[in-house]
């Protein structure tokens, strides 16, 4: 019985949480996609130039 109560609690909390996030996301989707586009543009300016070369040469031996 105690076991069952424990298993149910997360589900109850999940219910509350989904209600809240629904309210928050309504009408905010466009703003979020603008923000991610802006972030990617910024990352483009700092990203190492030759991706293939960088990834190929990145070898880290001798670790724990």
């Amino acid at each position: 019985m105690a076991e069952q109560e424990r298993r149910q609690r997360p589900a109850d909390r999940k219910g509350d949480e989904s209600d809240r996030s629904e309210i928050e996301t309504t009408g905010a989707a466009e703003e979020i996609s603008d923000r991610i586009d802006d972030l990617l543009d910024e990352i483009d300016t700092v990203l190492e130039e030759n991706a293939e070369e960088f990834v190929k040469n990145y070898v880290q031996k001798g670790g724990q």
């Binding site: 949480e17 989904s18 990617l40 990352i43 991706a51 960088f54 880290q60 001798g62 724990q64």
Partner: protein, 494 residues
């Protein structure tokens, strides 16, 4: 009553030099460590008292030829009480001993700042086109992994098998909030587009002494760096290096609380997994958090379900003993991260490296139509961890306010210089600062001074919670020289 947790972290950083044909990681790591300005006095770390081959289960592995535990090339102690050195082919920062997870998260972050300053200084030694790049990550994506270890002081009196039985399912499932994220799989594990952790693919045993081959979920190294009759140091190797401060705090805080509860016998029967080694990577390979693992007597449970059960026990335990504000903060963050992961893992991108990185990768995939094995995505995966404040993608997120922090830059900068006040690191760090000429070598549990007498003077520090500001600050302030300090301590021939 559980022992007060003394804890700390060790981080091996990834290192490379761009445009350098003769790049040698040992040489580059030595340059980084020895260039750090905070290292001016170059006090050597002494390995006399260390024996990493000793096993918590009571036997030793042979330290014969072919087992090289340390390069011993550059190995120093900082004024904040930390150790900065070259371990194998990586620069490594071991934080000072801290008395709570908030302090430990701060000193872990200070290690990144130390590395930034060390890299800037070492860069001056390089040619005009050469550039040093240091990452706080755990894998090169080609099957080579390097560690981010956690250490927790626990009571010797607690049977080690009890710790193992209660801790294994916790370690396997805490990965959902300790992972730093990785594209693909390594070490022969099944293919996956993106996984939660950097390290999971490399774990092959349930329990053992190794750290470089056949890595175990529970590491049995028995090297307490403290009174061995009273203490063990649990050396945790199943964890990722985290850039997020909240994540480091969560990782250390939840683990310390679980250890406390184990020591106090607060857990009912342990949750036992049928195949823990398989579940380490199975949990990591499931960023949707839907995978259910087989337990010996509770059917199949998801990582989240198991974490809720641990949290439940710990909440009751915390109420029964009464805990301070830092631990209340751990419990609050723990409950919130489970709620948010359950609702939508993307909602944790302000706190967890694996979801923050995934957000960037998904953004590039949708904008540029990139496949998961595209070099550009693999570069983004690496560059997230670059410690450089301009190029590191984690830092770009922080600067935009997209990542929640626990500390400000001033606190982090100060923590690169000042030791924690509430452990023996205070005594170590303050002696490095006050008596650099006389301090011959330092160690976790002793300092050796040359005060111009026939013998060197060794000051043992076998109790991690002595040598604090409260214990020694006035004595140190009243001692203008190391000789005066040794006299004040009553002398101790070494």
């Amino acid at each position: 009553m559980a022992l007060r947790k003394v804890l700390g972290t060790e981080t091996e950083f990834g290192i490379t030099v761009l445009n350098q044909a003769a790049f040698n990681p040992v040489v580059a790591s030595s340059a980084v460590v020895s260039s750090y300005a905070g290292n001016r006095s170059r006090i050597q770390w002494s390995l006399d008292e260390e024996s990493p081959g000793r096993d918590l289960r009571g036997f030793r592995i042979a330290e014969g030829p072919g087992i090289d535990f340390e390069t011993g090339l550059v190995n120093t102690v900082l004024t904040n009480g930390a150790r900065l050195y070259v371990d194998h082919a990586h620069p490594e920062y071991s934080s000072p001993e801290c008395a709570d997870p908030r302090s430990a998260a701060l000193y872990d972050k200070a290690g990144e700042r130390v590395m930034v300053e060390a890299v800037e200084a070492a860069q001056r030694l390089l040619g005009p086109d050469e550039r040093l790049v240091v990452h706080k990550n755990n894998t090169d994506g080609k099957g080579n992994s390097y560690g981010a270890h956690e250490n927790y002081l626990i009571a010797r009196a607690i049977p080690f098998d009890r710790i193992v039985r209660h801790l294994t399912a916790f370690f396997v499932t805490r990965q959902i909030f300790t992972g730093s994220g990785k594209i693909g799989s390594e070490n022969g594990r099944p293919p996956v587009d993106y996984q939660i952790t950097q390290r999971a693919d490399f774990f092959e045993e349930e329990i053992g002494l190794e750290t470089t081959l056949k890595r175990p979920i529970i590491n049995t190294r028995d090297e307490p760096h403290a009174d061995p009759s009273r203490y063990r140091r649990l050396h945790v190797i199943l964890g990722d290096a985290n850039r997020s401060e909240v994540q480091t705090f969560l990782k250390l805080g939840t683990t310390a609380l679980v250890l406390d509860a184990i020591e106090d016998g607060a857990f009912p029967d342990p949750i036992e997994l049928v195949d823990p080694v398989r579940e380490v990577w199975s949990v990591s390979h499931d960023p949707k958090l839907e995978y259910a693992m087989e337990t010996t007597d509770r059917g199949r449970l998801t990582a989240l379900e198991i974490q809720w059960q641990y949290l439940d026990v710990i909440q009751q335990y915390a109420r029964s003993i009464g805990v301070g504000p830092v631990w209340t903060q751990v419990l609050g963050e723990w409950e919130q991260i489970l709620l948010d992961l359950e609702t939508d893992p993307r909602s944790t991108a302000d706190r967890l490296d694996w979801t923050a990185k995934l957000r960037i990768l998904e953004g590039y995939r949708s904008r540029d139509g990139l496949a998961w094995n595209d070099s550009k995505l693999r570069l983004l995966d690496l560059q997230y961890h670059d410690v450089d404040p301009q190029r590191g993608l984690y830092q770009r997120l922080v600067d935009r306010g997209a990542i929640r922090r626990l500390f400000d830059d001033q606190q982090v900068e100060l923590a690169t210089i000042e030791p924690p006040e509430d452990t023996r690191a205070f005594f170590r760090g303050t002696c490095v600062h006050r008596y650099p000429e006389a301090l011959v070598s330092a160690n976790w549990d002793s300092l050796v001074f040359d005060i111009g007498e026939e013998t060197l003077k060794r000051v043992p520090m076998m109790e991690p919670l002595r040598g604090t500001r409260r214990h020694v600050a006035s004595m140190l302030e009243a001692s203008p020289t190391a000789a005066a300090m040794i006299r004040a301590l009553g002398g101790n021939d070494g």
